[in-house]
């Protein structure tokens, strides 16, 4: 199954990856080959088979609703690229 250059650019946009021209070329080829290999799953007729999203049949995991300490603000911001007061600073969103 081939994937087009336009599809690669579209997926990169969805994934928030700014790819260089070379990367787009290479990924178009590589993803085409990988999709052809993984597309093999379509060979099986599995209409009556339920999907598995998780290997254990857990339903609910309960615990007592008791307060406990969470990280302090200095710890929360310790790795922040840019902090302003008690906020993470980012460039303008528009």
């Amino acid at each position: 199954m081939a994937i087009t250059r336009e599809e690669v650019l579209h997926v990169a946009k969805l994934a928030r990856l700014e790819l260089s021209g070379d990367e787009v070329e290479r990924l178009t080829l590589e993803l085409g080959a990988i999709l052809e290999a993984v597309g093999k799953v379509a060979e099986l007729d599995l209409d009556d088979v339920p999907p598995t999203s998780h290997p254990l049949e857990l339903v609910n995991a309960w615990r007592e609703d008791e307060p406990y300490d969470s990280l302090g603000l200095d710890a929360v911001f310790a790795n922040a690229p840019q902090r302003e007061d008690d906020l993470f600073r980012v460039p303008p969103t528009t």
Binding site: V41, L44, A78, N79, P81, P92
Partner: protein, 476 residues
């Protein structure tokens, strides 16, 4: 006791963790001296092997040191997951497994190298350079947990923790000639583990022998309130002692043992181990996993990248990790991710995003989830007749650096035999079973969920019978 006399007691290449604990208990060495002995070994051999991304000079406990794969968050110790996007990231809390190691008195000796975000089968995808195999430095140690496996084999750590999504504990253990357990999904907490594919990721031990492996597993396993996917173990971990396998039913899945690409030397070593199991009293019979092996790899390379694309969305340059500036928020995020992620995470993010995108979801991700059910059912059927399934862990012995690096699909085939049982959430143990071309061959033991004690019993008995020397020949 002086340094010279310590090194005469502590042969880090040979000493098991259990023996090391005995030395400390009998006060023949102190915990600090033990820690120093492994640091000295690392100073001697790690410049060549590059098992560690960083070492911890001062021990924070008196017990047997443990090395942790760098996807395991450690309070105050940089944790990068082998990625540039986490360069300089210092966790402000301990993962549950790190906290349990500390609580058991095990000082953390260092953080081991890994393929970036645990994505790879050779440790060549680490943004910090590859790890080399202690048996032959021209060859890879396997991956993604090549740093942990190589550190244990080279005597740079008595034992270590790795993480396994589709084979990242078992396969490096096979290629480095030591014992590695991928536990039953849900038995070990993932709190504080850098997430790759959440329905598959499991933390587990790497050790010189099965008893050490079982001991380390017993220290980290069990329910954790901070990871709601964890459960209590149905029975306590038993350290294996027996040497016979009477009453044990061993199944040999045809497809896992006859798959294309399995090297003849690997087959020979595995068959010898199966014959030994028979001589120890096990009943051996053939079984089938027809679709698990044929479709397992395709199933995995849809589900794992899909989950990865979601998990890795958090690396956006906002709260922690790398930020590359941009004029707008969106430009900043896109540049940060382009610069911060290496080729393999990008490939998997792209693949996963595509498989989850509108129009393709049912055909790819939805279908793969159904294949996963088929794989689980096939294994369940096999376990109606057998207690343990055996096969090679890796189709090949350790391959040369660069040999598969340019071909992602060839690299993915390294995990052909480990992936199916991972998809079913089953535990798997790698036990060295001999050499082929002077390099270790690993035997994979797979059991039903929560059958770790059976795997330990089987692995221990076989280990005694095989008599494999875990010290790489060139270091003896």
């Amino acid at each position: 006791m002086g340094v010279s006399s310590v090194s005469s007691v502590v042969d880090t290449l040979r000493l098991t963790a259990e023996e090391a604990a005995g030395l400390v208990e009998r006060k023949e060495v102190t915990g600090a001296e033990l820690h120093r002995a492994y640091l000295d070994a690392a100073a001697e051999r790690d410049p060549e092997l590059h098992c560690y991304l960083r070492l911890v000079d001062e021990p924070n406990g008196d017990g047997v040191p443990v090395a942790l794969k760098d996807v395991i968050s450690t309070h105050g110790i940089e944790t990068t997951a082998g990625s540039k996007i986490l360069a300089g990231y210092v966790p402000q809390f301990d993962s549950t497994v790190a906290a349990r190691c500390k609580a058991a008195g095990l000082p953390i000796i260092g953080k081991t190298n890994t393929d970036e975000f645990a994505m790879g089968s050779s440790t060549e995808n680490s943004a910090y350079g590859p790890t080399r195999n202690p048996w032959d430095p021209e060859r890879v140690p396997g991956g993604s947990g090549g740093g942990s496996a190589a550190a244990v084999s080279a005597g740079l750590a008595p034992w270590a923790l790795g993480s396994d999504t589709g084979g990242s504990i078992k396969q490096p253990s096979a290629l480095c000639g030591n014992v590695g357990l991928r536990p039953t999904y849900g038995t070990v907490s993932r709190y504080g583990i850098v997430a790759f594919a959440s329905s598959l990721d499991q933390v587990g031990p790497v050790a010189k022998n099965v008893r050490d492996c079982a001991l380390l597993y017993s220290l980290i396993a069990g329910r954790d309130e901070r990871d709601s996917t964890t459960v209590e173990l149905p029975e306590p971990v038993r350290l294996p002692e027996g040497e016979d396998l009477s009453g044990l039913r061993i199944g040999v899945p045809k497809e896992l043992n006859e798959a294309e690409g399995i090297e003849p030397g690997v087959t020979t070593a595995v068959q010898n181990a199966i014959e030994l199991a028979r001589s120890l009293g096990a009943e051996v019979g053939e079984c089938e996993l027809p679709r698990s092996v044929e479709y397992g790899l395709a199933c995995y390379y849809l589900i794992a990248p899909a989950e990865a694309s979601s998990n890795l969305a958090r690396y956006d340059g906002v709260r922690y990790g790398l930020r590359v500036d941009g004029e707008s928020y969106r430009e900043m995020v896109e540049r940060t991710r382009d610069v911060g992620f290496g080729d393999e995470p990008k490939r998997r993010i792209m693949l996963g995003t595509y498989a989850l995108s509108a129009g393709y979801f049912d055909a790819f991700y939805g279908q793969a989830q159904k294949v996963r059910t088929v794989i689980a059912r096939e294994h369940a059927a096999a376990f109606e007749r057998f207690d343990v399934l055996v096969s090679p862990t890796s189709p090949t012995v350790a391959f040369k650096l660069g040999e598969k690096a340019a071909n992602p699909l060839a690299m993915y085939l390294s995990d052909l035999l480990t992936i199916p049982s991972c998809m079913a959430g089953l535990p798997g143990l790698n036990v060295p079973c001999g050499l082929s071309e002077g390099l270790p061959v690993g035997l994979q033991l797979i059991g039903p969920q929560f059958s770790e004690n059976t795997l330990f019993r089987t692995g221990h008995a076989l280990e005694q019978a095989i008599g494999f020397d875990p010290v790489p020949e060139r270091l003896r």
